[in-house]
Every structure is written in structure tokens, then in C-alpha cells.
Amino acid sequence: MVAVLWLWVSPAALARDVPALRGRVTDEAGVLTASEAGRLEQRLGDYEQATGRQFAVLVVASLQGDPIEEFSIRVVEAWRLGREGHDDGLLLLLAVEDHKVRIEVGYGLEGEVTDLISARIIHEVMRPYLRSGRYGQALAAGVEALIEVAGPTTAPPEAPPRSWWTRTLAGHTPLWYGLMALVCLGVVTVCWWRPLIGVLAVLLMWNTWWPASLLGALGLYLRWRWERRRRLRSGYGEVRGLVSRRRPREDVEGSLWRGSGILAVLSMVGSWLTSRSGREGTEGIGLMIAGRAARKFMGKGGGFGGGGASGGW
């Protein structure tokens, strides 16, 4: 039984891990000179600038026993090259020691870069260079051929996506603004007079329209401050001119508000981070922070279905 389980699990457990996406050109095997890699990076960057299509090159030393097709699909599933909805990503993968090469084509490019054309590029354009060990030239020629085949995009690259800020606040009808003002007023009023219901309203509005939620949270905070000041002024809690560390019972209500306020803010921040990074949980947040820090090249959510071709030399 254990042996069967082990057999079952082992292919996944022993599979070669996917390298981190560092740039358009990732050379794990170290077969490219800096200038070759730089030129490729430049070419692919220009192409993305012009068409929005994300092409990337990955060179690995060894597949560690994996079939190149399996490794390749795992790489693109992790990297998510290409734009979401356009699925216009492409990966050119070279496994040096295995003498294997693969072109992995995103769904959206399967019409232009067919399996047939991919196979021809591998066999007729790249293989002569690969056979003589000129990997840099092979990749450059392959990329050039792929770009030529894919062509200029049929649709112009879309405008950069509107920022989160403008998406929620700008470009609506006056009626919409009026309605939202009413909603804000409602939420703030509830937060001021019925803080516990207010917390619920704040959480609810966060997923619908965040500015109302923020205003509500502000209302909660102000109410809490006001309450505290009123209590301090009315005298209890004051011992020898200092604020007592002991908490009068009436203040429990205040800390309840504070607690739920903090909880609300935390969950809002959490949902904001996950919605922004487009992935679930902490992985997405980590990725987002890392992406910010290094201004890395990142996939934009393109899908792949195994199109393309593989070959050897």
C-alpha cells in the first residue's frame, strides 16, 4: 500500500521545480553571454511594448528526467505569460543537456503560431545553430522567426489599465455620484449612531464600494474618540491627574468598537491585497510586494493549453 502511494506521489514530488521568473530571458544554464541575453531581452521587451504580447525565453541545464512538455506546461502555468483574456504569451524553452527545445504557445496565439509553424521554426531555423552549440544565435533566430510569424498584433495594445483609484472614483454619471453620496451618508450615520451595525455596514460596503466603507470606518473612529473624550471629561478614569490604567467597565464598549474597527480594517486590507494581486492568500501578497520592490517582469495571467512543438538536436 505504501509502495503504491509512493509511486502515486513520486512523479509530482520528484518533478523538477519551476525557476523563478526574473526577466524575459532566464538563463539557468549560463550558456548566453551578457550581450546576447541583453539583446534578446531588449527585442522581447520592444515586442511587448508594441503588441502587448509577452514572450519569454528560458534556458535550463537539465530537465532532470521530466519530459520537456510536462516541464514546459508547468513553467507557463506558474509564470502565466501573456495578458489575461488575450492569452498571448509564448515561451521558448531550451534544455541544454537534454538536447531538447520547446515552443509553448498561449491559447491566443495558436492561430498564428501553429504547431506546424512552431515545429518548422525548431527544425529549420534553430536546429542548425543548436547542433553547432551556438545557443545564443539559435535563440535569437528562433525569437526573430516567432515574432515574424506572430506579426504585429491585429488589435492595438490596450491603454494601460486604469488605476485602482480612478476605476472606483472617476468616470461615472452624476446620478451615480448622487447615489453614492447618499450611501456614504447612510453608512457614516449608521456608524456614528449604531457602531456595531456600523461595523457590519463597513465590511459589507468594502466589497461593493470601498470609499463608503472608508468613510464609515472614519465615522467609527471619530465616534470612539468622542466617546473617550466625553468619559475622560466626566471624570472617571482620572487618578492623580493621570489617565488610569485600570479600565472602567463602561469603557469595555469602547474597546469593543476599537476591536471590531481594527478587525474590519485588517480584513479590508486583506481583501484589498488579494484582489489586487489576483491570487489567493499570502502567496499573492508576497508576489506583489516582491514585484513592486524589483519592478520585475511578471506574467499577466495568460492561459496555455499545450499548443506548440518540441524538438531535439
Binding site: A119, G306, G307, S310, G312
Partner: protein
């Protein structure tokens, strides 16, 4: 507290409990899972269809080779017609027996295809034939798509079946009348290899 407020609170609580319990038993999320299974099944079917369409061309090209092994060709043609004889639609997913039958027919087609490609290695004129080489790269591409589509189908069914079987989401699934769906056998190494032939 006025009477109206009390009634209002009761209604709100009842509504809240209803919404929450729907969430807990996955009354709606099972629909998403079901859709995902259907979508991935559609992709599998698509790719099988694509492969079936390539085969007549392949057979025609190979027949041009005068002394090509007759047995291999006949077997491929037969395997293809046995696949074509099965009516394919989404209702197959509710009928494990038909599903298995279909799966077996496709498996047979896969293996006779790979045999034919293997045998073709022995015919240098065929290897030099551009039409044959193009067909072969198209078939290889399709086999790879099939493998990807199958894997995604297996994954989506695993997720769906887990939700159908596990408590409390099983309650929502049975309320929707949804049952476990058949999946592909985990491939035994070598039993279902794509025709992978080096040039």
C-alpha cells in the same frame, strides 16, 4: 424595543442564517465546480476531435508509400472508426460505463497512432516527405494538447468530486442532484504514451 423592530431583527437573523447555511453547504459553489468540469471536458473533447480529423490525412499520406505495413494502417483506421462510432456529449459524464467505453476507444486510437509513427521510422522516403513531417508535428502537438486537457479534466473532477463527497458540501450537491463524475485513470507509465518520435 418596538414590535416592528423585533420583527425586523427576526427577519434579518433568519435571512442571515439562510444565506450562511447556503454558503456552508456549498449550494452555489458546487455549480461553479460543475461548470469547471464541463469546461475542461469540452476541451478534452475538442482535442480528441482535432486528432480524429488529422487521421484521414495521415492515412492518405502513408498509403502513398507503396509497401507500408498494411496491418498497422488497418488497425489505425479501425480504431478511428470505433471512436467515431461513439456519440460524444456532456451526458457521457453522468454515465461511467459509456465514459469508460469512450476512454478505451481513445486509448486504442492513441496506441495505434503511436505504433504507426514508430513503424514509419523505417521508411526513409516517408521521413523525407514534407507533408508527412508536417502531419506528424501536428499530431504531436495535438497529443500534447490532449495530455494537458486530460490533466486539467482530472484536476477539475478531483475538486468537484471532493466537494460532492465531503460533508457538509455533500448536502448542497445532493440538493442540486449532482453526483460524482467519472475521471480518467491515472496513466500507467507507458500505457498511454503520446507518439514521441525523434527526427
Amino acid at each position: 424595543m418596538s414590535k416592528g423592530l423585533k420583527i425586523g431583527i427576526v427577519i434579518a437573523v433568519v435571512l442571515g442564517v439562510m444565506v450562511l447555511s447556503c454558503q456552508v453547504i456549498g449550494y452555489n459553489s458546487i455549480i461553479d465546480e460543475d461548470e469547471a468540469v464541463m469546461a475542461s471536458w469540452g476541451e478534452v473533447e475538442n482535442q480528441y476531435q482535432r486528432r480524429a480529423e488529422l487521421i484521414p490525412n495521415l492515412v492518405a499520406t502513408v498509403k502513398g508509400e507503396a509497401d507500408f505495413e498494411k496491418d498497422t494502417l488497418t488497425e489505425l483506421t479501425e480504431a478511428r472508426s470505433s471512436v467515431a462510432g461513439i456519440k460524444v456529449d456532456a451526458s457521457m459524464l453522468d454515465d461511467p460505463e459509456r465514459f469508460q467505453q469512450y476512454e478505451q476507444a481513445q486509448r486504442r486510437l492513441s496506441s495505434s497512432l503511436s505504433r504507426l509513427l514508430m513503424v514509419s521510422e523505417r521508411y526513409p522516403t516517408l521521413q523525407a516527405n514534407q507533408a508527412f513531417r508536417d502531419l506528424r508535428s501536428q499530431l504531436e502537438g495535438t497529443e500534447n494538447r490532449i495530455a494537458v486537457a486530460r490533466k486539467r479534466y482530472i484536476d477539475s473532477v478531483a475538486q468537484y468530486n471532493a466537494q460532492v463527497r465531503k460533508f457538509p458540501t455533500s448536502v448542497g450537491a445532493s440538493m442540486r442532484g449532482l453526483d460524482v463524475r467519472p475521471t480518467f485513470q491515472a496513466t500507467v507509465p507507458g500505457a498511454d504514451v503520446a507518439p514521441k518520435v525523434e527526427f
